[in-house]
Symmetry: C2
Subunit: 198 residues, 2 copies
DNA sequence: CTGCGAAATTGCAGAGATCGCAGAACTAGG
DNA sequence: CCTAGTTCTGCGATCTCTGCAATTTCGCAG
C-alpha cells in the first residue's frame, strides 16, 4: 500500500513542500495578505494556475499539516484498547499531538501569528477543526457502538477538540510557564470526571 | 442609553433587516453561492456598494443575529450572582439561549442548511463563535478574578461554546426526540462534575 | 423654512482569489 | 520509441470586497 516510490508521487510531495516553504517565507517577509498567488507561484517556479492543484486556498498553505494531525489522533486512538473509556483514550491521543506541537514550537508560533492576524486563515483553521470533530464523532460512535441518536460521541469530540484548541491557544499566548502536554493533561483530567462512562 | 429614537437609527435598522430578508429569500430560491451581491442589492433597492456598509461579508447575512446571541449570554451571565460557580452560571446562560433557539427552530434550520452547504459560511460561523469564546474568556476572567496566566477562564469558555455548538448541531441533525434545552442541560451537567471549583 | 455640517449612499475603478477549459508537456510502461 | 494517462499551463471570466471622491440625505439650529 505505502507507495513511497513513484517518481510522480515523490515529485508531487516535494513540490508541495517547496511551495509551502517559499510561501511561508514570503508571508513572513511581507505579510500574508500582501503576498499574492502570483508571487508565490513565481517564487516556486510554477504557473499561478498550478498553485491551486496543490492547495485549495491560499489559507491552506498556513495550515498545511492539519490533515496529519488528525491522522495522528485517529492513529493513536486506534492503538488504545477498545475497553478503555473513550475520554481516557482521547486524552492519550491528544496528549500525543500535544507532544508533537511542543516539539515544534517555533514553527507553530509562526503560523499562529499569521492566523491571529488574518481572519480568513483563522476561519479556515476552525473549519478544518470542525472537520476533525466530524471525523472524530464518527470514529467514537463506532468505538462506543453508540446508537445513531446518541449525542455523546459528538459531545466528546467537540469537547476534546475544544480543550485542545484552548490549551494550545493559552500555551502560545501566555508566557511559557507550563508545558503544553501538561496543560492538555490537566484540562482533560478536569472534564473527565463527568464524562466517565456511567 | 437605548436610543430607540432617531429616524436615522431606525431607518438603518429597518434597511438592514430588509436586506437580510430579501437576501435570505434569494438564497432559499437559488442557493447561496448562486446569489450575487448585485442581485441582493437590486432586490433590496440599494446600490451594490451600499451592501457592504450593512454587512461586512455576504456570509454575515446568514449569521446576522450572532451578535445578539452573545449579548444574550453575557446579559444572562451578569444576572447570575457573583458567588455562583462559573460553570453553573454558564449553564443557565446557555440554557437561555437554547430556549431562544428552540423558539425559532424553523428560522434556524433554514440558516443551518445554508451553513452546512456553504463552507465559507460555516467558517465564518465558527469564527464568530471564536469571538464569543474570546469575549467570554475575558468576562469569566473578571468574574473569577483569575490571574492573567490562569487557563481556566479560557477552558470554561471554550468548553461551553463547544457544548452549545455540539448540542445545537445534534438537535438540528437528528430526528427531534429531545428538546434542545434539555440536551444542553444534560451536556453541561456531565461536564460540570469536573469543572466545579476546587 | 432655510442653511450647515455630519453621515450615508452611490459609482467607478481595480486588485485578487478561484474556477473551467483545452492544449502542451511529461511520466510510466511496454 | 510509442501510447495512454497525468499534470501543468495559459487564458478568460466571475465575484467578492476595497478605496476614493462626488452626491444626496438627515438632524438641527437659527
Amino acid at each position: 500500500m505505502p507507495k513511497t516510490t513513484g517518481l510522480r508521487e515523490r515529485k508531487k510531495r516535494e513540490r508541495r513542500r517547496r511551495i509551502e516553504d517559499v510561501a511561508m517565507e514570503l508571508f513572513a517577509l511581507q505579510g500574508f495578505d500582501a503576498t499574492t498567488i502570483d508571487q508565490i507561484a513565481a517564487a516556486a517556479d510554477i504557473a499561478p494556475r498550478t498553485f491551486f492543484s496543490y492547495f485549495d486556498t491560499k489559507d491552506d498553505v498556513v495550515l498545511a499539516d492539519y490533515a496529519n494531525r488528525l491522522g495522528r489522533i485517529l492513529h493513536e486512538l486506534d492503538q488504545r484498547p477498545t475497553d478503555e473509556p473513550a475520554w481516557s483514550a482521547l486524552q492519550r491521543s491528544f496528549a500525543a499531538v500535544a507532544s508533537d506541537y511542543a516539539a515544534e514550537a517555533d514553527r507553530l508560533a509562526q503560523r499562529f501569528a499569521i492566523m491571529a492576524a488574518t481572519p480568513s486563515v483563522q476561519a479556515r483553521s476552525l473549519q478544518l477543526q470542525a472537520g476533525w470533530e466530524h471525523t472524530l464523532t464518527a470514529h467514537l460512535a463506532t468505538r462506543l457502538a453508540a446508537a445513531s441518536g446518541d449525542p455523546v460521541p459528538r459531545l466528546l469530540a467537540a469537547t476534546s477538540v475544544a480543550v485542545m484548541r484552548a490549551s494550545l491557544h493559552h500555551w502560545l499566548t501566555t508566557p511559557r510557564s507550563v508545558e503544553l502536554p501538561t496543560l492538555v493533561q490537566d484540562a482533560f483530567d478536569r472534564l473527565g470526571v463527568g464524562l466517565a462512562p456511567r
